[in-house]
């Protein structure tokens, strides 16, 4: 197409194709939907086969929920799931508390030397590859001889959860209007009252978002737990890994599906709690 063609309004000429708007490239929509299929089909296949009656995963013999019943009744799976929950809840609680305090100090503590370095340190777990964190933590625990069982796992999880909890809290704080806190002090509230009555309630959605991210991340972690956890302290993902190693059964699919649906529910809940409500952002 030459430049000349473009000058002529195509629609004005009978018989010529109406020129599409620039962004509307043909086939894009198809591609986008194929992409969605690419993202979700594997998950769908996994979930579908978890309802397979037979015990060979890939030969469909009939519908059954037996594998779920079996997985839920399995004492080892229940223990692993319990461990996962204990670790995730503890790591979430500790990391969210630390992250909230740190975010407050960084966003409201004025300028000071080393601020950038501290920010970098807190986000360090995001930058170091997981496998490196995993073996480094393993080396560390063994070199100082720390053997707290599940405690080791909780420590490791808390560490890498901190930046995930930190990010949304900090974002929320940065977006918050500091004149609100000034207004509170202006109206005779002490620093503590200002924090309790103004800062914290307004920060809460950020804290909630941070906690949810930390929880999901901890529930999903596999490599670090694999390296750090002792024999009795396996979490659900590590248990699933060992099951896969022993051979793929519909039971693995069933446990995996439960874990999947659990994270999908968490992420969706997170999305809807953090979505800006309309008319919220007047200032």
């Amino acid at each position: 197409m030459t430049a000349q063609d473009d000058i002529v309004p195509a629609a004005a000429l009978p018989g010529t194709k109406v020129r599409r708007a620039f962004g509307e490239v043909p086939g894009l929509k198809t591609l986008a939907f194929c992409f969605l299929a690419f993202l979700y089909l594997p998950i769908g296949v996994l979930v579908a086969y978890s309802f397979n009656e037979g015990n060979i995963v890939m030969v469909w013999t009939g519908f059954s929920t037996d594998w779920y019943a079996q997985a839920l009744a399995d004492a080892d799976i229940r223990k692993a799931a319990m461990n996962s929950l204990i670790v995730a809840v503890s790591a979430t609680a500790i990391s969210t508390t630390c992250a909230t305090l740190a975010a407050l100090a960084l966003a409201r503590g004025g300028a000071f030397r080393g601020k950038v370095a501290l920010l970098g340190l807190i986000s360090l777990p995001l930058m170091v590859p997981e496998i490196v964190t995993a073996v480094a933590t393993l080396v560390f625990f063994s070199s100082i001889g720390l053997r707290l069982g599940l405690g080791n796992v909780i420590i490791a999880h808390t560490t890498f959860c901190i930046p995930f909890a930190f990010m949304p809290i900090r974002a929320r704080l940065e977006g918050m209007d500091t004149t609100l806190e000034q207004a509170s002090r202006d109206l005779y509230a002490s620093d503590w009252e200002t924090f309790r009555l103004v800062t914290l309630p307004l920060l809460m959605p950020g804290v909630l978002a941070g906690a949810m991210l930390a929880f999901v991340i901890s529930m999903d972690d596999f490599i670090i737990t694999l390296m750090v956890a002792g024999a009795g302290d396996t979490t659900l993902p590590v248990y699933i890994y060992s099951m896969i190693r022993q051979g793929i059964t519909p039971e693995v699919n069933a446990v995996s599906s439960i874990l999947l649906l659990f994270s999908i529910a968490m992420v969706t809940a997170y999305w809807f709690t953090t979505r800006q409500k309309p008319g919220r952002n007047i200032h």
Partner: protein, 302 residues
């Protein structure tokens, strides 16, 4: 707030303390110790003996023969090369698919856009292990892809297409896992892109391709660069995908490190590889930081 009173400084330190201590003690210190370990000698069943040795790094390039002489060996270099190659393949395929998808989403009306972003975000936050495992069911022997061939009699008993345990399977796994990290930043920069600029380009008689290459690409470059980095770096150090989809033969850096700590029990060598992986990652992050600073300086000058 330039001169905070004394107790405010104290309060700030107390508030920063826990997070900094935890990350410092359980992240920074462990990595440092691992760095030290990489220069020690291995004990036969894991652990180290405290004597200095550069063997771990030498071992990467040379193998020690019986008479204690060294011979150049390519075994580990091939693993490094494969890691880079597969990370690159994953990045390029993510970009090829991710850019048009991001463009498509950015052109949707606002409500739809949010829905799309949610749909792309969900898989990313769901369990990586499980999502990778799903690909075994698809690519594996008797898997979803082989089933129709078998049914049609094109594939006999005991025969396989050989999709699993290959570089191809690993690349698919990496692409599948990390593609949301490509779409999201590109979308973020395309969303900010003022489409009247695109129209201005068209208005000034540039062809579609010219508009795309002269206006759209430069303006969405920060997103593209960020996306490539976000896919490349975790791919380089990936463990789950090569482990589940590559089997024992197609090692990458991540699986090699894990192998040294679990099966081979050569901690100094494992530490050395982990340090090298970390060095690569830091190098890429620094390059990125420099590029980002440069881009910012450009913005300021305008």
């Amino acid at each position: 707030m330039a001169n905070l009173p004394e107790n405010a400084t104290l309060r700030r330190s107390l508030a920063l303390g826990p997070a900094v201590l935890i990350v410092g003690a359980f992240m920074l210190v462990p990595v440092a110790i691992m760095g030290v370990y990489s220069f020690l000698e291995a004990k036969s069943f894991g652990g180290v003996t405290w004597s200095f040795s550069g063997d771990a790094y030498v071992q990467l390039f040379y193998e020690r023969l019986l008479d204690d002489s060294l011979r150049l060996s390519s075994g580990y270099l091939i693993i490094i090369a494969r890691s880079f190659f597969l990370a690159l393949v994953a990045t390029v395929s993510c970009l090829i698919v991710g850019f048009p998808v991001a463009w498509f989403i950015a052109r949707r009306p606002l409500g739809q856009r949010n829905m799309w972003i949610l749909l792309i975000t969900i898989p990313f936050w769901t369990n990586q292990l499980v999502r990778t495992f799903a690909w075994i069911i698809i690519l594996g022997r008797n898997g979803v892809i082989e089933a129709p061939f078998r049914w049609a009699g094109l594939l006999g008993e005991g025969e396989t297409l050989g999709l699993m345990y290959s570089d191809f399977a690993i690349a698919v796994g990496l692409t599948y896992t990390f593609i949301p990290l490509m779409v999201l930043p590109i979308y973020a920069s395309l969303e900010k892109l003022d489409f009247s600029l695109v129209e201005a380009g068209a208005d000034l008689y540039s062809s579609r391709w010219e508009t795309f290459s002269r206006i759209v690409i430069p303006l969405s470059k920060p997103g593209i660069v960020a996306g490539c980095l976000l896919v490349f770096i975790p791919s380089l150090g990936a463990f789950i995908q090569p482990d589940l989809l590559g089997g024992g033969k197609k090692l990458m850096l991540g699986t090699l490190v894990q192998f040294q700590f679990s099966t081979a029990r050569n901690w100094p060598f494992g530490s050395a590889i982990a340090m090298i992986l970390l060095a690569f990652v830091i190098a890429f992050l620094m390059l990125y930081a420099r590029a980002a600073r440069g881009a910012k300086a450009m913005e300021m000058r305008r």
